[in-house]
């Protein structure tokens, strides 16, 4: 199981800015190890964000998103106390979901 995400959601002017820091290796599949063998790709493929259980954002990512990915986006109409849940899935079908409250 992967490490938890760090999520910060702040309400401002009727919207909420959400910042997420995920813990993931994001191996590209281009690098080689010391013995010259290619290290297989291992990266997040799908990201979903939900506000109070309703999907507001879906994203597809390739291996060229940086290690321990950062994502910032703005949810319209979110206010303090709302629940933001972020989920990711990687190409090993590993998933993780973390939740934060808009402050």
């Amino acid at each position: 199981m992967a490490d938890p995400m760090r999520i910060r959601a702040q309400a401002a002017g009727g919207n909420a800015t959400v910042r997420v820091l995920m813990a993931h290796e994001m191996e590209t599949g281009q690098r080689k190890d010391a013995s010259g063998k290619i290290i297989p790709a291992w990266h997040i493929t799908d990201v979903t964000a939900k506000l109070n259980g309703k999907t507001v954002l879906t994203a597809e990512w390739g291996p060229s998103v940086s290690k321990n990915p950062f994502l910032q986006f703005t949810i319209k109409g979110a206010k303090a106390g709302d629940k933001v849940a972020i989920s990711w899935k990687d190409n090993h079908n590993d998933t993780r979901t973390d939740e934060a409250t808009v402050s």
């Binding site: 919207n15 994001m26 590209t28 281009q30 493929t45 799908d46 964000a49 506000l51 309703k54 999907t55 507001v56 954002l57 879906t58 994203a59 597809e60 990512w61 390739g62 291996p63 060229s64 998103v65 940086s66 290690k67 990915p69 950062f70 994502l71 910032q72 986006f73 703005t74 949810i75 319209k76 109409g77 190409n91």
Partner: protein, 152 residues
Amino acid sequence: MQTRRDILKRSATVAGLLAATGLFPQYALAAWNKAAFDAKTVPDAVKAYGAAAPTESKDVTITAPDIAENGAVVPMTIATSLPNVKQLLLLVEKNPNSLTAKFDVTDSVEPNFVTRAKMGQSSDVYAVAITADGKSHFAKKEVKVTLGGCGG
């Protein structure tokens, strides 16, 4: 005469077209658009999402540093002020596979995303906005990657 490069290029285009029409059965079910992420060029990746070739637009913006000292972590902001945008793509032209990320824009989120991407070498980076009518608009910016981490 056909060179290997020509053939590869053509097969990527065909793959893009097939994906666009949903003729790739093994990918049609999977949420992740493999054809788009396998595409080697910016237009091919956009085509894989079923959009027309992108035209440059001032309503799409991409913000990235002029010089990135560390190509492994390059912060990028993509945004658009166009109406009816369905998808926003972030691409790095000279990476082995151009497409970095695709965001589905809904009514509930601002079409404005910040993330960090890896860059193998100095390249143009693209933000592409695909609208509901299948048109696509892009903005690009050149980012120089300093190798070796010596800052020069």
